[in-house]
Amino acid sequence: MSIRPQTGGEEAVHRAVRGARRDAARAAVLGLAVPLLLLSGWEAAARTGVVDALLFPPPSRIAAQLAAMTADGELGGHLAATLGRLLPGYVLGALAGALTGFAMGVSVTLRAALGPLFAALYCLPKIATLPLLLLVFGLGETPKVLAVAITVFFVTQINTLAGVRRIDTRVLETARSYGASGPRLLRFVLLPGAAPAILTGLRTAVGLAVVVVVAVEFVASDNGLGFLIWNSWTLFRPDRMYVGLVTVAVLGAVLSAALAVAERWLLPWQAARPPLFAPWRTLLRARTPRS
């Protein structure tokens, strides 16, 4: 039952390891090369006048603008303002959503009472509630944080609910047959069983939360990255606008990456899963006759 290879199999192991490394390296190179290629194409096009440099300033100028705005602290201020709305709203919405979804998952009564209502509200564009929030809470930070929280809440709730409901009945039965109940059932079965779906919800919610916070800052704020983008448009400063866009994109990417790391740490049993599709190379190789 040893997983160690016999003598002579060592070469095969090395080959497999090398193959896996090569796949990883290739993915990394591709991931970097394509954006770099696009950027240099843009730079060239803007400098040679193929595209209007007023609307599409070359990346080098955007980079210079970004450096300047970082140096004088303006960008940092906007970023901090956005994070100050995004993070509290996200945490609030995620906690409330996960708790509600979980409770609905285990309670038939709650599901019957809240299910249809939430299903209907889910389709409502949450940004549309902003005027109402502004009306109720005035122009402070509260309505902005709440707009984010509401968005995150619904996505998390619906995913958590689905996650609890979709726990394998055979697993639940096993747990029941061994007398699992109460807190132990929660800790050993329900929470880990629903965790993958909860994390999927949280990851989807990150993207939506960024969308909402930027949209809110477009219309109801005088700071933040959304304000920066919108304000640059009204002042016709595309270079500043691009700085805002890039920062929002990076912010979203960093938050998603953080969640991906958290996911790997929280769901160690999923790491063993093979990739969904074999690389084409292996498929092609299988057809060619071996020498």
Partner: protein
């Protein structure tokens, strides 16, 4: 002691069709007795185990289980489809029954490790079940059931997913374990040889709705070894069970009987 009296079991489909899975099944299992159940596929063997273990309520009849004195659950299941929890390590899976009974982590893990050793899974104690083969999962399910310390084991084809060699090994292993631990066991199996090797009694069930049509007492003295399978007495019993199985399905075309028979006999030959 584990006893069931006049168990009826009906399933109602969402379309309102009624299916009778069990018909007036009665059995009594003594403490420390090993009872095997054989019968054609779909006759209600799994259903019977679930009713015995309290997972399903019977539509009629009653189940009695002498209440255990300990904190451990009164029965431990080995499911036909293993019922392994994918998010727990192999060790935590083996320790699951004890943990659910409120036993502390340290002690549970120690007991689990011992059982993992006995089913040959020590090497994988820290891995997740996703990395195990079907047969290994089945052995894990066995380890978990034994580790739980329950006096009654209800096993649904616990060796069904194993290749013939491993299966023979595990049969001998199970024989040994049971002879040491003296649990009360009800085991469903499709292998006549397995039933005769392990069981004190073999219950033969009819096609659906399942009833117990025959009870065959296995006279071989304990402790047994796999060697008894080569004796003429064993061969005679084998024929007897086979005939009982055939007789348990009246009105079924000969062809299907043969097909089902091949499956029923499979496994150890």
């Amino acid at each position: 002691m584990l006893a069931a009296e006049d168990i009826d079991c009906y399933f109602v489909s969402p379309e309102g069709e009624v299916l009778q899975a069990l018909d007036q099944v009665s059995l009594a299992v003594e403490d420390g007795e090993f009872v095997c159940v054989v019968g054609p596929s779909g006759c209600g063997k799994s259903t019977l185990l679930r009713v015995l273990g309290g997972l399903d309520a019977p539509s009629g009849g009653s189940v009695r289980l002498r209440p255990g004195l300990s904190v451990v659950p009164p029965v431990a299941f080995v499911f036909q489809d293993f019922g392994v929890l994918p998010w727990l390590t192999v060790r935590a899976n083996a320790a699951f029954g004890l943990r659910m009974a409120g036993v502390g982590r340290r002690l549970s893990d120690r007991v689990a490790d011992r059982w993992l050793g006995r089913v040959g899974l020590s090497e994988f104690a820290d891995a997740y079940p996703g990395r195990l083969s079907g047969g290994m999962r089945q052995r894990l399910a066995l380890a978990r059931a034994f580790a739980s310390g329950s006096p009654v084991l209800l096993m649904d084809e616990p060796l069904g997913a194993l290749d013939p060699q491993t299966r023979v090994q595990m049969q001998e292993h199970l024989l040994e374990l049971w002879q040491q631990e003296h649990k009360t066991v009800v085991m469903v199996t499709h292998s006549i040889d397995e039933a005769l090797l392990l069981g004190d009694r073999v219950l033969v069930m009819s096609d659906r709705p399942g009833t117990v049509t025959d009870t065959i007492t296995v006279p071989f003295p304990r402790p047994r070894t796999a060697g008894i399978q080569d004796t003429p007495a064993f061969a005679r019993l084998r024929v007897r069970v086979r005939q009982a199985l055939r007789g348990s399905r009246p009105g079924i075309p000969a062809q299907r009987t043969d097909g089902a028979d091949a499956r029923t006999d499979g496994g150890t030959e």
